[in-house]
């Protein structure tokens, strides 16, 4: 078991921004795109941002993931990322939230103003 822990520890990223459920974050991911086949194959990479509310943080160690929810063109979109994934270029906390629970699934049933998390007051 100790060997597995060592392997998992080697997979961890040290530059992970601290954030908790209720925060609004902007996640920038790098996407690799391949075009063509064989010799004509080219790999391009571009970045894509995903901004929304963190509704869950789950798992531990290298297996930890978090879910970001946003409303896109009136449709709720949720995306789950591994916290330590190398495709994550950047995570920035746009707004700190003051959530009273760890999993904000209730947000899914709320619309408009009710679908918000209180902003964290500076203490």
């Amino acid at each position: 078991m100790r060997e597995i822990e060592t392997i998992e520890r080697s997979q961890l990223r040290e530059d992970v921004t601290p954030f908790v459920p209720g925060d609004t974050v902007k996640v920038v991911i790098e996407i690799k795109e391949t075009t063509g086949m064989g010799d004509k194959k080219t790999v391009r990479s571009r970045t894509q941002a995903f901004q929304g509310l963190v509704i869950r943080r789950q798992g531990s160690g290298a297996r930890e993931t978090f879910t970001v929810r946003k409303i896109s063109f009136g449709v709720g979109v949720e995306r789950t990322f591994p916290v330590h994934s190398p495709i994550l270029k950047e995570i920035t906390v746009v707004q700190e939230g003051d959530a009273r629970r760890a999993k904000l699934y209730y947000i899914r049933k709320k619309v408009g103003k009710a679908a918000r998390v209180r902003k964290k007051k500076l203490s």
Binding site: E8, Q11, K32, S85
Partner: protein
């Protein structure tokens, strides 16, 4: 052909470029060649490998003699593998470095025992409806006709012991090799519980040497 004995440590996941790869971590070797069987003497060719620490007081006299012949330390597990006899001598060590990243491997072991199980779990029977007064839930149903043939056909799928079978998983990709700690990382699952003995062989299907990313 190359082979090594090892033990399953468990599963985890690792990041490779932009992918998350599910891996099984195996402790492979160091193994020792305890006997080389040759056609003239034994009627067939094989190499007997040994793996695992063993307390000296756990070795009985016949086994002590067997290990003495190979002039090696006593080991806990022995397994025969059909390797090319010319390359091996008794007492020779086999380490994980016989495998490299990108190789393909077959892994054999004894699967987890499930005990006495019913037909739904053992053979995938559909079972009946759970409710609405069906009175038929997980039973096997009819097992044959009546006066003709007056018996149950051999091989009929019935409840019984499941698991604890010899199982081989073929063509697993070697994702990583840790020579220092003797670890082997294979993509996917291998048979058996953690800590069970496994025979890791070069894949018979081979396949082209590929990068870890598919």
């Amino acid at each position: 052909m190359k082979a090594i004995l090892g033990e399953k440590l468990g599963m985890t996941q690792i990041f490779k470029e932009d992918l998350v790869i599910p891996v099984t971590v195996l402790k492979a070797g160091p193994c020792v060649v305890t006997q080389v069987k040759v056609s003239e003497k034994d009627g067939y060719e094989a190499v007997q490998l040994g793996y695992g620490d063993l307390k000296p007081d756990r070795v009985n006299q016949p086994m002590k003699g067997h290990f003495k012949k190979a002039s090696c330390e006593p080991v806990r597990f022995l397994a025969e593998v059909p390797l090319s006899v010319a390359d091996y001598r008794p007492g020779q060590k086999v380490k994980v470095d016989i495998f490299a990243e990108g190789d393909r491997a077959d892994v054999s072991g004894v699967s987890k025992g499930k005990g006495f199980t019913g037909v739904v779990k053992r053979w995938g029977f559909a079972g009946g409806p759970a409710s609405h007064g069906s009175r038929f839930h997980r039973a096997p149903g009819s097992i044959g006709a009546c006066a003709t043939p007056s018996r149950v056909f051999k091989g009929k799928k019935l409840p019984g012991r499941m698991g604890a079978d010899n199982v081989t998983v073929q063509n697993l990709l070697v994702v990583g090799v840790d020579q220092k700690r003797g670890l082997l990382l294979l993509r996917g699952a291998v048979p058996g519980p953690r800590g069970s003995l496994l025979v890791i062989r070069e894949s018979v299907k081979g396949g082209k040497k590929r990068s870890v990313k598919r």
